[in-house]
């Protein structure tokens, strides 16, 4: 049947069209609860500290979202983080000067893009199924990470970390980065390229016969995801000041939960990047809430799980209630 959600014209539509509307409300709710439990939440220092810890997952979710919008999924982002993380720290060496720093960061980002390209070639040109392909490639990447740095170590020039943990142009660096990413996304959203992304994710065959370079777009989506993973890794390096070949793996599945929390459907062709970044923030804030709500030790994991489930179920529940009267 035509499951066409009735078309509501005018201003209302433009509001409801925002895929991240629900997640934004959730975020506000979460922040308020957090604030209620932690009165000093809005202290610049505290807020900045929180943003720094949220940032890596937010960046990762943004990259994951791009792949998802283009109709794919990337289970290797965590491994890419680990790989880039150790590459950067290795190249920074013991006492790095400006050139080493630039070199290391450049190489790290390139490394992420290449890893993404590897996924992209397998999925777009060889037409493997995304989930298992990226699951398989994640072993390759984490293996490489282990090979490059068998056990955690290395250090990062404290000057560099201070830049990240301090302020740029008077704004907390983490906040600045988030804002820049969102602005860049809005710019991208206005380009033809972003329409290709949505077209490929929405209906690859239609996109192809319309003349969209499907294969290349798929490839590029994975490269973007790789790049964002690399940025996330960079944020981790600057936050932790060390290299760790295992650091990324726990973040992979979380990034996907963040994408969905952000109102971006895994079926592709819909949603955006802002939502998933919000989703990532929500997931991190839940940890704060649990921390400040004095949840008994043994119940923390359960409470966390339940809150996430409820957050995921929220939109569905609303829709369900809406469906009932009909």
């Amino acid at each position: 049947m035509k499951s066409s959600t009735a078309y509501t014209p005018g201003l209302l539509r433009t509001i409801f069209r925002q895929s991240y509307l629900v997640s934004l409300l959730l975020l506000i709710g979460a922040v308020l609860i957090n604030y209620a439990l932690q009165p000093n939440f809005f202290r610049p220092g505290v807020l900045n500290g929180n943003l720094q810890t949220f940032l890596p997952l937010m960046l990762l979710a943004a990259g994951q979202a791009v792949v998802v919008i283009a109709g794919g999924i990337d289970l290797s982002v965590g491994a890419i983080i680990s790989l880039v993380n150790v590459v950067i720290v290795r190249l920074l060496g013991t006492h790095a000067g400006p050139t080493e720093i630039l070199l290391a960061i450049g190489a790290g980002l390139l490394c992420g893009v290449l890893a993404g390209a590897f996924n992209g070639i397998c999925v777009a040109y060889l037409r493997f199924q995304p989930i298992v392909t990226t699951f398989a490639s994640s072993f390759v990447f984490s293996g490489l990470a282990l090979w490059i740095m068998p056990s955690p170590g290395g250090s990062v020039p404290s000057a560099l970390m201070d830049v990240f943990q301090g302020r740029l142009l008077g704004i907390p660096s983490a906040l600045l980065i988030i804002v820049v990413i969102l602005l860049l996304w809005n710019l991208l959203r206005a380009t033809r390229y972003s329409r290709y992304l949505y077209a490929v994710g929405g209906q690859a065959m239609s996109a192809y016969i319309t003349g969209v370079p499907v294969t290349r777009i798929r490839l590029s989506s994975y490269m973007l995801s790789g790049l964002m993973a690399a940025l996330s890794a960079l944020a981790l390096v600057l936050g932790t000041g060390t290299g760790d070949p295992l650091v990324g793996s726990p973040m992979t599945l979380t990034s996907i939960v963040a994408v969905v929390l952000g109102g971006t459907r895994l079926s592709g062709g819909q949603g955006g990047v802002a939502g998933p970044m919000i989703g990532a923030a929500i997931l991190s804030i839940i940890l704060n809430i649990i921390a400040f709500a004095n949840v008994p030790t043994w119940w923390q994991t359960l409470v966390n799980g339940l809150i996430v489930m409820i957050a995921l179920a929220g939109p569905g529940l609303i829709a369900l209630v809406r469906r009932q009267p009909a």
Partner: protein
Amino acid sequence: MNKSLKLNPALIALLLAIGLFVLGGLLRPGFASYSLAINILRLAAFLGIVAAGQTLVIIGGGEGIDLSVGSVVTLGAILVYHFSNGQDALVFPALAGAIAVGFGIGALNGLGVTLLRIPPLVMTLGMTGVVQGLILAVTQGALTGGSAQLMVNLVSSPLIFGVPGVVLLWLLVGAVLWVVLTRTPYGKQLFAIGVNRTTSRLSGVRVPAVLILTYALSGALAALGGFVLLGYTQRVFLNLGAAYTLPSVAAVVVGGTLLAGGEGSYLGTMAGALVLTILTSLLTTMELPESMRQIVYGLTLLLLLSAYGRQRKLRG
């Protein structure tokens, strides 16, 4: 599209398994031994049984996937361990209980996916967190109980020709699932749903009911997997099953079942489980640094994927 490649993926996977095993024998004298073959069969049985439910869920389509199997395996084992408490008489009641619980958790997944329209991947992932949380909250980390001798005999000790019971149990599961998928209305309807839900509904199939049942079965089979795994380890651990979640998906895909749904077989999954287990064992027995093991494992998996399970060409 391409008929020659579609030519029964289950068979391809089986050939791959045998090929890998022989290759192992060449690379590593002593690999292709009877005892190791038996050992591989046993290990494959654990993965295979856990991947059984995964197969059903994936065939059901709609991005169907169950990432909660790992945690349910752990829960199942813990329940049997606790309630059987080492007494043969209590093994089967405990098993029944564990399977019932697994069934219930799966049903919740199904409800979330159908009624609340939560994408299966995140629904089941979230369920993992909840189940793990429940285990911690209830046990507070103290896992008490015992594993009955009966269970140990059933799983570990050889029954006939040194073949342990768990392998026979696996074959039984395989036979049952083959019947279920190809010879029952449920199976036919599951494939139909996997291909096209609108058509199925308009042909009188109760799509949500079938899906909820499917996720429930996946939970139940995962709990069964926990039972057999317990028979092997004889002790429970908080992360007993975690290592099975994603491999179970890989086994299904290597077995030639489409992640898109609507096409596949459990026989394929069984072969897939064998392939993955042989690969892991081979890598274990070769003297390689862990980093190399991981890289080789990943690349080989990619190679397997290239054999089939590719998506259709854009340009006909």
